[in-house]
């Protein structure tokens, strides 16, 4: 049923288009570089780092390589991850329009709503690939440079390596969910233009503005409505027991953004003249 109505074959084709593109691999490679650079820098200057200095967890990386992924994610969340993701989200419709392939997809006929859904799922797939790439690269490079063993959590509890790996996967999932609102915003902006770079810039600016607003105490009433508000709260996954209340609020918030911008994207795209 799903295969017929949504078009599994279109979804696969979308992933194929995305992952045959060199740009996609270049961005994943750049994402993988974050933990690699981080671990290398820490490794080369390990003795000069006092506990608590630098970003959270940074001092722990030397004691346990498994922290590399978490620390790298904290560094990547505000700017670098949104940057790569906005490239993909801004490209969804605007990229096809810019190439001119959009008109051929539509007369295939792909169905406009169907195309939107598949494009959106494609950006989620890229985000998953990105967050997992970061965590996996972090685990590998951490294991190369530093000792690896049971992890002492923020709460003081100790978890074993398999449990730690499982929590790394959870961090990747959590951050992916955190990005879903921004992805929906990107999809909408992408229906407004035929220039992918324009859409990408729009998404990036929105994420910057949202993070700035989130840091203004005067606007505290607004904070929990900002799509970036829970971006760094994946640290709660490193507590024992896992603190998942922020995850619930985050999920609801992201779903709200998906509904809102999804509806806008649908309204705009299904009534739009395709003149590119």
């Amino acid at each position: 049923m799903f295969a017929k109505s949504l078009g599994l074959s279109l979804m696969l084709s979308e992933l194929k288009v995305m992952f045959t593109r060199r740009r996609t691999w270049a961005m994943l490679f750049a994402i993988a570089l974050i933990p690699i650079l981080l671990a290398t820098a820490v490794y080369l200057s390990a003795d000069r780092l006092a506990p608590g200095e630098g970003p959270p967890f940074l001092d722990r990386v030397t004691q346990n390589g498994l922290f590399t992924g978490f620390t790298a994610m904290l560094l990547a969340m505000p700017l670098f991850l949104p940057l790569t993701i906005s490239v993909v989200a801004g490209d969804t419709i605007a990229g096809e329009a810019g190439l001119g392939t959009l008109r051929y997809l539509l007369i295939a006929p792909v169905g406009r709503a169907r195309l939107l859904v598949v494009k959106y799922l494609g950006t989620i797939a890229f985000t998953l690939a990105g967050t997992f790439t970061l965590m996996i690269a972090g685990a590998i490079i951490g294991a190369i440079y530093f000792p690896v063993g049971p992890i002492t959590l923020l709460s003081g509890d100790v978890i074993q390596i398999p449990e730690a790996l499982w929590r790394m996967a959870l961090v990747a999932l959590y951050t992916t969910v955190s990005m879903m609102g921004m992805l929906a915003l990107g999809l909408f902006i992408s229906t407004l233009t035929t220039i992918p770079v324009g859409a990408m810039t729009g998404v990036l600016i929105a994420s910057g503005v949202s993070q700035i607003l989130d840091n203004l105490p005067q606007l505290s009433w607004l904070h929990e409505w900002l799509f970036t508000h829970y971006w760094l709260d994946f640290a709660d996954i490193l507590r024992q027991p896992m603190e998942l209340s922020s995850f619930g609020s985050n999920l609801l918030l992201q779903l709200g953004y998906i509904a809102f911008f999804g509806a806008l994207a649908y309204g705009r795209f299904t009534s739009k003249d395709i003149l590119s």
Partner: protein
């Protein structure tokens, strides 16, 4: 059955407004099934805009479209699988091979059968002569190869109608000839072809029917023979005694005789008995070095209809 079922495309009072400009200003097209229909018009006359509306890419400002018996845009999804199209040049993912591009476009069509995809893609590539370049990335294609790939995309499935917007744009003479042959062979299979072009020669060589667009309106429409009959044929004669010839011709009812040197030109009936006129002149001792009936070229008619200037009208 009503007469409209014999039409592959029918529009009534079709209008497309861009801001204050009427890019298409109320056109009524009748494209018979099985015809090769030339959609002729200078740059900016509204050909591509019309095609975008036919295919549901752009909204109709006013008017009605019936495409293969389906009302557009309401029944677009029923009509489109039967239509192959090339709109304003081919467009592909440059970083994918020609074959993979076709796979992508075929997967986009929810009605297409994944099991036959590979064989249909190969058949389409073969049909346009791209088999050898199929695994090359499209960014390495020449313009002509892209144009062919665009045609292959239009041929991924058996179609009832092909809408081709300037299909020979950018092709060398050899490529142009091949594309024309391809169009002829598709037409001979009974596929209706709607071909837009600003090249009269192309339309003359390929089409059975023509509509001439100018600044958003259709200024002439009909079978090629009908349009040809619109212009005025002319009798042209070179004689040694101009004055006497003029007298004789006027006596035969010819008017508006133009004289330049020893040459006479006069509007004449397309079926005129030229040999008879020749005999008449010769009988009157007039030396005739040349006499012929010139039929109006479609080109003159086209220029008459659309204005001669090279400037884009708007």
């Amino acid at each position: 059955m009503d007469s409209s079922s014999n039409l592959a495309i029918e529009t009534a009072g079709l209008v497309k407004q861009f801001g204050s400009q009427r890019a298409v200003a109320g056109i009524s097209l009748s494209v018979p099934r099985g015809s090769v229909f030339g959609f002729l018009g200078p740059n900016g006359s509204g050909k591509t805009t019309t095609i975008r509306m036919l295919l549901g890419l752009a909204d109709v400002t006013e008017g009605e479209i019936t495409l293969l018996g389906n009302s557009i845009p309401k029944d677009l999804d029923t009509a489109l699988p039967k239509v192959g199209a090339l709109v304003e040049g081919p467009a592909f993912y440059p970083y994918m091979s020609g074959r993979n591009n076709l796979f992508r476009m075929d997967a986009a069509d929810r009605n297409s059968d994944a099991k036959t995809r590979a064989s249909r893609v190969d058949a389409a590539l073969d049909r346009v002569g791209l088999t050898n370049a199929a695994s090359k990335k499209v960014h390495a294609y020449s313009l002509g190869m892209k144009q062919r790939l665009g045609l292959a995309n239009a041929l991924l499935k058996p179609r009832e109608l092909l809408v081709l917007d300037e299909p020979t744009n950018g092709l060398d003479p050899q490529g142009t000839r091949e594309v024309r042959n391809l169009i002829r062979s598709l037409a001979s299979e009974g596929i209706t072809i709607f071909l837009s072009s600003h090249l009269l020669s192309e339309i003359e060589q390929l089409c059975t029917h023509v509509a001439v667009m100018s600044a958003g309106s259709i200024v002439a429409q009909g079978s090629l023979a009908e349009l040809r009959s619109h212009g005025q044929s002319r009798l042209i004669a070179k004689v040694d005694d101009v004055d006497k010839s003029v007298e004789l011709l006027q006596a035969q009812g010819f008017a508006k005789i133009k004289i330049s040197g020893d040459q006479l030109t006069t509007p004449a009936d397309a079926e005129l008995d030229v040999a008879g006129i020749n005999q008449l002149l010769v009988k009157n001792k007039i030396g005739v070095s040349e006499i012929r009936l010139e039929h109006p070229s479609l080109e003159e008619y086209f220029v008459d209809l659309t204005g001669e200037g090279f400037e884009v009208v708007r």
